[in-house]
Symmetry: C2
Subunit: 439 residues, 2 copies
Amino acid sequence: MAIGEEIFRPGSSSDGEVRAGILVTGTEVLTATIRDENGPWLSEQLSGLGVELVEILVVADHPGDLARGLENMKSAGIDLIITTGGLGPTADDLTAEVVAAFSGRKMELDEEMEARIAAILARFAANTNLDLSTDALNEANRKQAMIPVGAVALDPVGTAPGLIVPGQAEGDPLVLVLPGPPRELKPMWEAAQKEPMLRQVLDQATRLEKYRLRMFGTPESELAMSLREIEGEGLPFDGLEITTCLRKGEVEVDVRYREAAADAAEQLKQSLLERHSRSLYSLDGSTVDEVVAGLLAGRRLGLAESCSAGLLAARIADVPGSSAYFAGGVVCYSNEAKRDLLGVDQALLDEFGAVSAEVAEAMAVGALERFDADVSVAITGIAGPDGGTGDKPVGLVHFNVRTAEGGVRAAAPIIPGGRRDVRERSALVAMHLLREILA
Amino acid sequence: MAIGEEIFRPGSSSDGEVRAGILVTGTEVLTATIRDENGPWLSEQLSGLGVELVEILVVADHPGDLARGLENMKSAGIDLIITTGGLGPTADDLTAEVVAAFSGRKMELDEEMEARIAAILARFAANTNLDLSTDALNEANRKQAMIPVGAVALDPVGTAPGLIVPGQAEGDPLVLVLPGPPRELKPMWEAAQKEPMLRQVLDQATRLEKYRLRMFGTPESELAMSLREIEGEGLPFDGLEITTCLRKGEVEVDVRYREAAADAAEQLKQSLLERHSRSLYSLDGSTVDEVVAGLLAGRRLGLAESCSAGLLAARIADVPGSSAYFAGGVVCYSNEAKRDLLGVDQALLDEFGAVSAEVAEAMAVGALERFDADVSVAITGIAGPDGGTGDKPVGLVHFNVRTAEGGVRAAAPIIPGGRRDVRERSALVAMHLLREILA
């Protein structure tokens, strides 16, 4: 943990009665060809169920590595192993076999499953015009319909069934075998939870309650000090798991707790709100994009973006239904565009330069007019890597946010980081200025 | 491996002489509070050096889990273990101690390092106005300056030094201890490679050559068929490791090979180029954004975006130096904006609707004029989730790309997926239409 990241865990959740491990198989994940989405997603699911995740292990599609991973998790006293990937029809899809061997179970053809997969594959081949011979189909089909004796087969979402495989001895881990593609894994995880064999293990965990706060403008170090003060004033932190995390320029505070600590969790929320009423803008996990979308309902927004060049427009339009309030924006990357499309006076550009409070104001006024808007945002800055001067360094960004009724918020921070950081952070700062002016 | 993902690995790289494991420590990574960037990044670095990555293990900041991970990697015959995270000044930053114990080495105060860290921390405290007492500073400082006897200390990039820790016995793994924040880890990895102790291990690996091809418009299944055909025609695939991956709407083909297979690798590239000359647009790994940036040099670009709402502008402006050719764009999210800012005839909007070939053309013509541009792009479509009709379903997007000299590319695909998919894919399609018209 570096300075500025803080995890308070005085009452750690490591008294959770159920311990889990996630085993991600896939050469394409290990070689960083694709990013693993399943590990983090399953981690959040387990956390919500009160299950303690001990480790995530990523290995290639080699049976030896997979078997070793399973054995190591068993040695670590893990109760539930979730594997992802390696369930396809090809030769390097070996998870089911390796898990069967690990659990001391033979593989057996499940004829009903074979018929079900045959139907799915036939449909798939017809839809995609794949030139799959009947023999190849049958072989792939049969391979995927081989189920360890005593295991529960989970209906395929794609073409591969999942599995719940019990151990042989008391205390052996239960293995949940899920497919790799996230669109298949997620629904199958939901289905698996309805199976008594998995349910029995999950039900031994005590569920955790959770809330998430979001803050903008308070450094993480200051928040850490507040947490220490609140604890010093006598609020019991036992039973609370508090994680603070700097993410995309905002601080997220995740608080997890068991039922018994619900009062302390609520008091903590109120104490943070008292101390950081300006920066603590979200008590229910809603994002600034969602908050601003709510505030914009019934209004009309126009944008004028230079250095952020569409990033703010893209964020605004990312919310479904935004066309009700988002009139549009001008990406005025050149001085001519500022002048011709937003009516910025050439004299202002000559006198103060494109990155100035004066031009930002003229851009915002222009956006109000051109889009016949109730509220507008202007962003003009130096994203770098070149173009900075002594007076106007790389990272200097001028903001002007205004309403048709005459409200104004202006700011000109120097945003640290590289070109992309400066541009993305510009859109974020603008979001918060919008939130403030509309609130 | 699911159908549609293909990895050809007839001559696997698993004969690499150096085996590595990555041990990511951090409760915040395990709980999915932050995403691990270091594992995938280091994986690519190792691959380039010809080192075989056996596993990536993520554990919480618990010394027991960390120690167990190290022991398991040692048992698996791993030569090089890279740990990330847990080097900070706080109590749960335990990596250095645990690695020292694992390698059978005592910790010793490195006084020179202590002085160096003291200077860094003093500067840090002054810059951030942190209320750190001298005692607290000294303690944090001393903790970070404790170095295992016989280890090489790597200069801090943030406040924490890295370590290269040799084992006690012949064949014990070498442990490279790196900090968690990517901005610290990356430069320290570069520095570590200059140290003879690490160099000696890395030099035992045979470096792999590599190239990356990018394709747009060829389905992965068709590419898989081409690869089978090329192999069938007698090109030896032994010694080539071919990974194909669908990423953000394009297909990436990574080919890794040792020196001896260089001819086969080159022949493969030529054979793919013959078969897919239209879709195979990048032979050197350059992205479409980079290719288009090169083609735009000396021209002037104007954009008119409706459903993509700034995403194309943001991609164009993401390239440093783009202000030389990017005049700007209009995000015309409303009909009024299409009319008032781009001069689209209200009669066209009334007769054909905002999502039509006619309006796309008028938007592109308007963008050429308003930005005094040489080339323009117009995008108008239905991103969903609402707004689709029988004639114009969600996902229908009209493109019109044109040059001042009269060149035109128009397209109107139905893009599958959710709102964000449709919008992002729209920007991608536009990039490729730009590439085609400028090439």
